[in-house]
């Protein structure tokens, strides 16, 4: 099976559910295939490629499509059913990088003090403490847990910060889900996900999505917080060489802090998810 054939078997986000008005159309590209999207009067989405109608489903405030007749089922995010959360689709951002690089960066915490300075991290609190990574056998997902990292308070009285707990899930090659300490509720975690639409192997459209407990912030504030963070990452992602993700050891040098990324690359290789990956060294 080719890298692209493997990638065809997944579902990908192509639009937000409330994005298109009835009758409105839009063109996009998925896995090098031009797609036509049209919002229908009854609130659904028609998607087609080469005049062939495609399967569409509504999940996590986005429309998901697949180019396969026999796709893997869409992954689950149980928190999407918790109706007291705020659900925040953040819009699309185009990035000139491999879709896999976009996911891997999302799984990385060591860059926080340098890329998301004073928000998600700050010197001298740069150390990444030991954490756990495993492949969940039931769902065949990468899970990284027991991650803790010092984060400055994002308020002007930034006297001292908090140690934030993180758990990461990679339920599909181009999806990453983060569970993060919720400042407003001790018994729950906020969910922040990155849904990646692969345009081609070196270009992607990224759709961040959040499911939060936050009664105070405006929707615009929540969206802009996430966009602020992701657009800082974009500058990094567009300057990594090579553009594709090196999937075999040797071309790059990981450390203990990169355990999630190492497991992610191995997991991609094991399942043959080579679309956007660079083999060999």
């Amino acid at each position: 099976m080719s890298a692209r054939e493997h990638a065809l078997k997944y579902w990908y986000p192509v639009a937000m559910v409330n994005e298109l008005a009835s009758g409105q159309t839009r063109e996009t590209v998925l896995l090098e295939t031009p797609l036509q999207l049209e919002a229908t009067a009854d609130g659904n989405l028609n998607a087609s490629a080469h005049k062939q109608s495609l399967s569409v489903q509504n999940a996590f405030d986005h429309w998901w499509v697949t180019l396969s007749d026999n796709p893997y089922p869409l992954f689950k995010v149980p928190e999407a059913a918790e109706t007291d959360r705020r659900f925040v689709p953040c819009g699309v951002v185009r990035v000139l990088c491999s879709p896999l690089r976009a996911v891997e960066n999302f799984l990385d915490i060591a860059h926080f003090p340098f890329v998301h300075t004073d928000v998600l991290g700050a010197e001298p609190h740069t150390e990444v403490y030991k954490y756990d990574v495993k492949i969940d056998d039931t769902h065949d997902e990468v899970i990284a847990s027991n991650i803790r990292f010092y984060q400055p308070q994002a308020a002007k009285s930034a006297e001292g910060g908090i140690e934030t707990q993180y758990i990461y899930r990679v339920p599909a090659p181009m999806v990453a889900v983060l569970y993060k300490t919720c400042p407003q509720r001790e018994d729950a975690m906020d969910v922040i996900a990155l849904f990646v639409q692969p345009v081609d192997e070196e270009t992607c459209d990224v759709w961040p999505w959040m499911a939060l407990y936050d009664d105070t912030s405006s929707m615009a504030d929540l969206i802009q917080f996430q966009q602020f963070i992701f657009l800082q990452d974009r500058t990094i992602l567009e300057n990594q060489l090579p553009r594709k993700l090196p999937i075999d050891p040797g071309l790059e040098i990981p450390t203990r802090a990169d355990l999630t990324s190492v497991s992610y690359r191995r997991w991609l290789k094991k399942r043959g998810a080579y679309y956007g990956a660079l083999e060999g060294r």
């Binding site: 937000m16 994005e19 689709p89 953040c90 819009g91 699309v92 951002v93 185009r94 000139l96 340098f114 300075t117 004073d118 928000v119 700050a122 010197e123 001298p124 400055p152 308070q153 994002a154 308020a155 002007k156 930034a158 910060g161 459209d205 405006s218 929707m219 615009a220 504030d221 969206i223 802009q224 917080f225 966009q227 602020f228 963070i229 992701f230 657009l231 800082q232 974009r234 500058t235 567009e238």
Partner: protein, 229 residues
């Protein structure tokens, strides 16, 4: 509060006003507007404030509404620059030079700014002529900065920074977001670096923190806080 800024965190023009306020150490109230994906700036109630449907919008304590970014810089300097160096109204020849670069800044928004929205947020655009216009504008800036340097002036309009520098800084600094790197513009690179070294300088996504100058032991105020002290 001294004024209210209707703000979008990724807009270079909004950043221009935030940067100027930070350099002048002025606090204000920022109201987030869902520019992308919500297009809230093209809808009520924002259109009632600014029928042009652009951001930022600045509302003064006296309820005066400003919708043109370059005018906001003039207003900020007139209100809060006690030394009259950012907008030296008494120096007519210098004011003429500043006006030249305030107008030029609109060209940067129309070229680099539009290309950036196209490249980053998939805004429909005829990219090739816009890109050519952006490169043309950046080359003019590069040439002017080169000549300023020959005269011994590191800034756009004189021997100290003015609102002209702040007007032109954001979209010049953000051009890599639109895939126009700074490699071919050495005079621009030096000038960008000089602006980033100014006391009170703040960043936005696309413009890296100058960690060179940072004291690793102490954290500064959050760049995302609602009010900038």
């Amino acid at each position: 509060m001294s004024f209210t800024l209707y703000n979008y965190v990724l807009s270079g023009n909004c950043y221009k006003v935030r940067l100027m306020a930070s350099l002048l150490k002025v606090s204000y109230e920022a109201v987030s507007v869902d520019f992308h994906p919500g297009k809230a700036h093209k809808q009520e109630p924002l259109l009632k404030l600014n029928p042009a449907g652009t951001l930022p919008v600045l509302v003064t304590a006296d309820h005066e509404i400003l919708t043109e970014t370059q005018a906001m810089l003039v207003w900020l300097a007139q209100q809060y620059d006690v030394d009259n160096t950012w907008w030296p109204a008494h120096n007519q020849p210098q004011i003429t030079g500043i006006m030249q670069w305030l107008a030029f800044a609109s060209r940067l928004s129309a070229t680099v700014g539009e290309l950036r929205l196209h490249t980053m947020l998939n805004k429909p655009l005829d990219a090739a002529p816009t890109r050519a216009g952006a490169i043309k504008a950046l080359r003019e800036l590069e040439s002017h900065l080169t000549e300023q340097r020959i005269h011994g002036h590191p800034w756009l309009a004189g021997s100290s920074p003015t609102i002209a520098d702040i007007a032109c800084f954001p979209y010049t600094a953000l051009s890599p977001d639109a895939n126009i790197e700074h490699d071919n513009y050495p005079a621009i690179r030096s000038w960008l670096h000089a602006v980033r070294c100014l006391d009170g300088f703040i960043t936005m996504p696309g413009i890296f923190e100058l960690h060179t100058l940072r004291n690793p032991a102490g954290a500064d105020a959050s760049p995302l806080s609602d009010t900038v002290a």
